[in-house]
Symmetry: C2
Subunit: 354 residues, 2 copies
């Protein structure tokens, strides 16, 4: 999307369970079918970026409809000084995948007059060590430690001189405060939606990464949903693929070649789903008429833009970042919200592929 802000055209009909949590910029962006950056540009009345008048109107309409409090963004920083929270990550700032974690953390920090200082380490141990030492020397009040995908980690020495919150990762066999995505619920939700639409033979194109919760727990969720519906778990319907378009293409071809082909494919991620689309098309079949396709991740540059737009399960990146900082700040204020691993739901995003 070089040269302009992302301005999605088709309504994506997002369906999100909504509890008591405050309305975020993420909600506004989704309602208005634009990126968070566009919402930010509109709300900040940025003059350096051209926003189409119709887009601006749509954003402001969404702000009104959802009752978004503008000052949740940066008003907290408008006057006076601010405190600093460190954000140490392996690669969130440099990969195209999980940047919304940083956005959510920023929004929560700015709302309480804290600035977020990000250090991206590419998992290099010496960089991590220096980053933590430098952040402590610069008197950060707390540190978020976060990874670009959900995985186990080992914390760098010294980090616990200040309160620490893990986001999108966890230390095995430790009860450190953490916010992660609920992969099992996500896998269950994806499968339940397909079952509700009448599917009985649901293929699952999954990954082989044994240490990743995304692999083990989404499969558990798939089995949970089948079991609840009284459907058998058929190992032949689970196909391990490389987690990209090429894997999805090959895996879908393999599953569709079976004698009794599945009528739906639950894909490990949106890239796998994109490859599955190609295989389905090549077989002369259609999505969702002949084969329903469910993705995972809700990856910004892909999911809403496939033909047909992809129904998928979103990773709560924004929410994890926001919640991680909120819990840290509660803790710093003397609250008790700081311990234990919290799992945030992965919401279903309905579009047109199931």
């Amino acid at each position: 999307m070089s040269g302009t802000t992302d301005d999605r055209l088709p309504p994506d009909g997002a369906v999100r369970p909504r509890g008591e949590r405050p309305v975020t910029m993420w909600d506004v962006a989704r309602r208005a079918n634009v990126s968070q950056s566009t919402v930010s540009f509109v709300l900040n009345e940025s003059t350096s970026v051209r926003i189409a008048p119709a887009t601006r109107e749509r954003v402001l309409a969404a702000v009104r409809e959802l009752g978004y409090r503008r000052n949740a963004m940066a008003a907290g920083l408008r006057s006076g000084t601010s405190a600093v929270i460190g954000f140490v990550t392996d690669a969130i700032a440099t990969t195209p995948f999980a940047g919304q974690v940083i956005l959510g953390a920023q929004d929560a920090a700015w709302d309480k007059r804290h600035l977020l200082l990000v250090v991206n380490t590419e998992s290099a141990p010496e960089v991590e060590r220096q980053a933590v030492a430098m952040l402590l020397e610069h008197r950060v009040r707390a540190i978020v430690y976060s990874t670009w995908y959900h995985r186990p980690v080992t914390l760098p020495a010294g980090i616990d001189e200040v309160p620490v919150m893990l986001v999108n990762c966890f230390v095995p066999d430790a009860d450190l405060p953490a916010v992660v995505s609920d992969e099992r619920q996500g896998g269950r939700c994806a499968t339940e939606v397909l079952i509700e639409r009448g599917h009985r033979r649901i293929g699952f194109l999954t990954d082989a990464e044994t240490a990743a919760p995304a692999t083990t727990e989404r499969l558990e969720g798939y089995r949970d949903a089948l079991g609840d519906a009284g459907l058998p778990f058929e190992p032949d319907l689970v196909h391990v693929v490389t987690p990209d378009q090429e894997g999805g293409y090959a895996g879908a071809l393999a599953l569709l070649a079976g004698a009794e082909r599945p009528t739906a494919l639950f894909c490990y991620n949106d890239r796998v789903a994109m490859g599955a689309y190609a295989a389905i098309g090549e077989r002369g079949l259609s999505v969702p008429g002949d084969v329903a396709v469910m993705g995972f991740d809700d990856q910004e540059v892909i999911a809403a833009h496939l033909r047909p737009p992809l129904s998928t399960i979103a990773l709560p990146h924004y929410e994890m970042g926001h919640r991680g900082i909120s819990r840290l700040l509660d803790l710093l204020d003397g609250g008790a919200a700081g311990s234990g691993v919290e799992r945030l739901p992965c919401p279903y995003i309905e579009r047109a592929s199931v």
Copy 2:
């Protein structure tokens, strides 16, 4: 690509002009067909991430073949203390687009024992102001100011108390030191490649963003190449679209419906190209047999994974970040490399669509 590192399968046959610049992690990643994160995990012997043995071997082979100096990564930080450089950006850390700018900047900084502190501001003026004040208070040696796409900017007050380098942006009518991408050369290169392959009617699906160099200068490059080849500029072959898949789909349908249809489409970005693929397929035509398609950006999650893999022009994100920091550090060391706008070439990445 949730749950695992990005492990691309097909060789992408990248063609990059190579001068005297040092071999970077980016080069290793491209040669091995993996992400930079994967290279980093392998080189750091990370135990928290499972890398397939074949992938590890491929990375190490690429390191040997290219003569990559491992200590260009983080060895500079291995002992002793480090100085700090601030990196202020609108949204690079939070969008899926330009993260490689931060990676390049990091590599250059770490190589000279500097840590990079990133503040992502979403263009909120008060956040920028506080970020700069805080970085100065924390004694950064210099500040990089960078944007997620190439555009004009206004610098926040006070930033020039230390040396400043602009990366991927510029201040109009000022001679501040900056590193940007050469959009005109990129547009020319894309068109020249298509002309060399024998195309005479080359459609251009472009964006309407009048203030963006990506829009105005790529069109200039397209016209340059046509003129050099003695081909007429035909306004009917230039079609303005929204810069995403939906725009590419509609624009390609429109151009292909003409009486004398183009045999090649130069697309404003890879997302537009992805939409063009869909339109070409729907018309019963093939890529590149009936219509050649050229992208722009080399966006990680799309370009190499389309069917056929997309030939495209890469934005030199990594190189811009690396060069920006290198120039700053030269300047801090008393060198004279600090003034003027430097344009880095956008290299052609050959795959299978032209």
